[in-house]
Symmetry: C2
Subunit: 145 residues, 2 copies
DNA sequence: ATGTCTGCAAAAGCTTTGCAAGTAC
DNA sequence: GTACTTGCAAAGCTTTTGCAGACAT
């Protein structure tokens, strides 16, 4: 992982560069699974065994305020974090309880056009996010898993 | 509120008809604001002052299992409940922290057509929900509030 | 009559907070 | 040097659980 790039992200947001923050940043980039605070703590402790869960929450909160991450709520009880600040939608797989980001400019334009014509009374739309729920289809006919 | 209709809803789901359940049901129908458990408790206590918050949660949970309500998670920390089981989307107003349901068959068809053409690899879509975020526009030029 | 539901309180689980000690700048 | 961060533990909040008593059928 490109160390100086991580440092850059923090300094640009006027955050002090600490090993803990770098570690959490790296975890967020490595774990592409919209990790929970707990998962981030586990990942980070491989290298920084003393990092407290409270600190992970503090750091994530700071990142949230500085708009380095977004929070994703699911039907489960924890918040999950997402570092990707590009506009995207979410694909939830009910079976495996996974969240993946879904990018689709064509769809975004379609929606934008749609709501340009058909406005919602008295409402100014800032953002439209889709939640696509369903299941992944297994289709590995002969190969073993 | 139509008492026998409330009774009907419960019996059809094979739930015993208790005053507490009727009260929560009524609250859900009256409060069209996607209430929290706390708000439901407050509403219900006007008529049933002894109803415990724990009971409200128990009842809501039973309703959730029987698919009488859905749970809605927001950026805030509590779950909000919605009795409307028709397909709908959500309009979040950031300023006033309100959630309203949004129904739009035309939009639903548009999305269905779109994903019929452009599939998501290996994924079977079950449901698509929009989260429309923005703000209500005040436009009461002369009237007082 | 009996299986289910309520009320209350206590517990659980995720997240936040407080403060002393440590660290980045 | 100083203001910000960390670590740890304790507190906070919503939600769940356990159990005795009450109630619907």
């Amino acid at each position: 992982m490109n160390y100086s790039r991580l440092v850059d992200i923090l300094s640009k947001k006027e955050l002090k560069v600490t090993p803990q923050r770098l570690a959490v940043l790296e975890a967020l980039m490595q774990l592409k699974t919209h990790p929970t605070a707990e998962e981030i703590k586990d990942y980070v402790r491989k290298k920084n065994p003393n990092l407290a869960l409270g600190t992970v929450y503090n750091i994530l909160d700071t990142f949230y305020e500085k708009r380095i991450v977004t929070k994703v709520k699911t039907d489960k009880d924890f918040v999950r974090y997402d570092m990707d600040m590009h506009k995207h939608h979410h694909i939830y797989c009910e079976e495996c309880d996974s969240i993946e980001n879904y990018y689709d400019n064509e769809l975004d334009e379609l929606l934008q056009d749609y709501f340009k014509k058909k406005r919602i009374p008295n409402f100014k739309i800032k953002e439209i996010n889709l939640q696509i729920t369903g299941n992944y289809i297994e289709h590995k006919p002969t190969k073993t898993n």
